[in-house]
């Protein structure tokens, strides 16, 4: 009987310690940007939302290309519509 009581008390103590430890961790970390539970993509999502870019036009070439560096004059507008045609190397 004495051995069973000791086991029950030990299990209860372990459960209580785990509960208190987990609670302390949660209380200590929610405002920490580097907390391990922070979703790593959060910052990138925020950047994409604040600076939308035009929908990439299909290259139709079927090959991977490096990212082009595009410069346009102020009067030339980009659109998110798909292009009906495209300029390409012939």
């Amino acid at each position: 009987m004495e051995r069973a009581s000791l086991l029950r008390a030990g299990a209860a103590l372990f459960a209580a310690a785990a509960f208190v430890g987990a609670g302390s961790y949660v209380v200590a970390h929610p405002k920490n940007d580097t907390a391990p539970l922070q979703p790593p993509a959060e910052t990138q999502v925020a950047l994409r939302t604040s600076a939308p870019s035009a929908t990439p036009a299909p290259t139709r070439t079927g090959r991977a290309t490096a990212t082009p560096r595009i410069t346009t004059a102020p009067g030339v507008q980009a659109t998110q519509l798909p292009g009906i045609s495209y300029t390409h190397v012939s």
Partner: protein, 264 residues
């Protein structure tokens, strides 16, 4: 909106028009096909091939070829000699002796490319090409044909000849024709666009873009350049110059000339 897609000039051509009928597009296709037959260097009986074979004699040219030759001289001046249609001997030496689909032939040593004004002389209705010189009108012809066709076809049309295009009018929305440019879509209205690159018509040890300074396939740190300009022909000229100048010098050269560019 009416549209028509067909093969000509060594690639795919697309015509779009708002407020025009399908018959107009079909007549435009017929004209392009006829011009292709006249301007190709791969058919010995084409007008261009006969000029190339004229051995220094004065040769009667059609109004279209005369206009193209005058534009070729302008392109030479505009590009400080970097766009020189007299590169045919170098293309042949590089192995591009027949239609690209047939594959390259063995290369030989690069010839010296002479400045176009030294080898091409024009007078009304006639042209004289120095014996030994040869012309390949290539992209110059496509750009010029796109501009000319867009002007004749209607007020609201998009003409794309193998990547050299001219967008006239505002398209179906009036805001501009949506055209793929680099990895974006731009709304083009009364603008030309063209792309030059070393990634297509390339083979082991060479490609079709000759640097007139060396007579060899161009060595550049850019693989592809797309350019906007007031006409498709100017866009073609600017794209070629930018590609030959390379990534560091191209933006400065394009600034003030082009309405936009994409460097890859």
């Amino acid at each position: 909106m009416e549209s028509l897609t067909f093969s000509a000039l060594g690639g795919e051509c697309e015509l779009y028009g708002v407020g025009i009928n399908a018959g107009a597009l079909e007549r435009a296709q017929t004209w392009i096909t006829r011009m292709h037959e006249r301007l190709t260097r791969f058919e010995p009986k084409s007008e261009l091939s006969r000029l190339n074979a004229s051995r220094g004699d004065w040769f009667a040219v059609s109004p279209e070829l005369e206009a193209l030759l005058r534009e070729s001289l302008r392109a030479f001046d505009l590009s400080d000699g970097l766009v020189n249609v007299a590169v045919l001997p170098a293309l042949l030496a590089a192995g591009y002796t027949r239609d690209f689909e047939a594959g390259p032939t063995a290369s030989t040593s690069a010839p010296r490319i002479r400045p176009l004004p030294e080898v091409l002389h024009l007078r009304p209705g006639e042209a004289r090409l120095t014996d030994g010189a040869g012309l390949d009108l290539g992209g110059i012809a496509k750009g010029w044909l796109a501009d000319r066709l867009a002007k004749d076809l209607g007020e609201n049309v998009l003409v794309n000849l193998c990547g050299d295009l001219y967008a006239r009018g505002g398209g179906s929305t009036g805001e501009g024709w949506p055209v793929g440019f680099g990895d974006k879509t731009l709304l083009l209205k009364d603008l030309g666009a063209a792309t030059s690159g070393t990634t297509k018509r390339a083979w082991a040890g060479g490609h079709h873009l000759i640097d007139p300074r060396t007579g060899l396939p161009a060595r550049t740190d850019l693989s592809e350049v797309s350019v906007l300009a007031a006409t498709a022909l100017d866009a073609e000229i600017y794209a070629k110059v930018a590609l030959l100048l390379g990534a560091s010098a191209a933006p400065k050269w394009l600034e003030g000339r082009s309405q936009g560019w994409s460097l890859t």
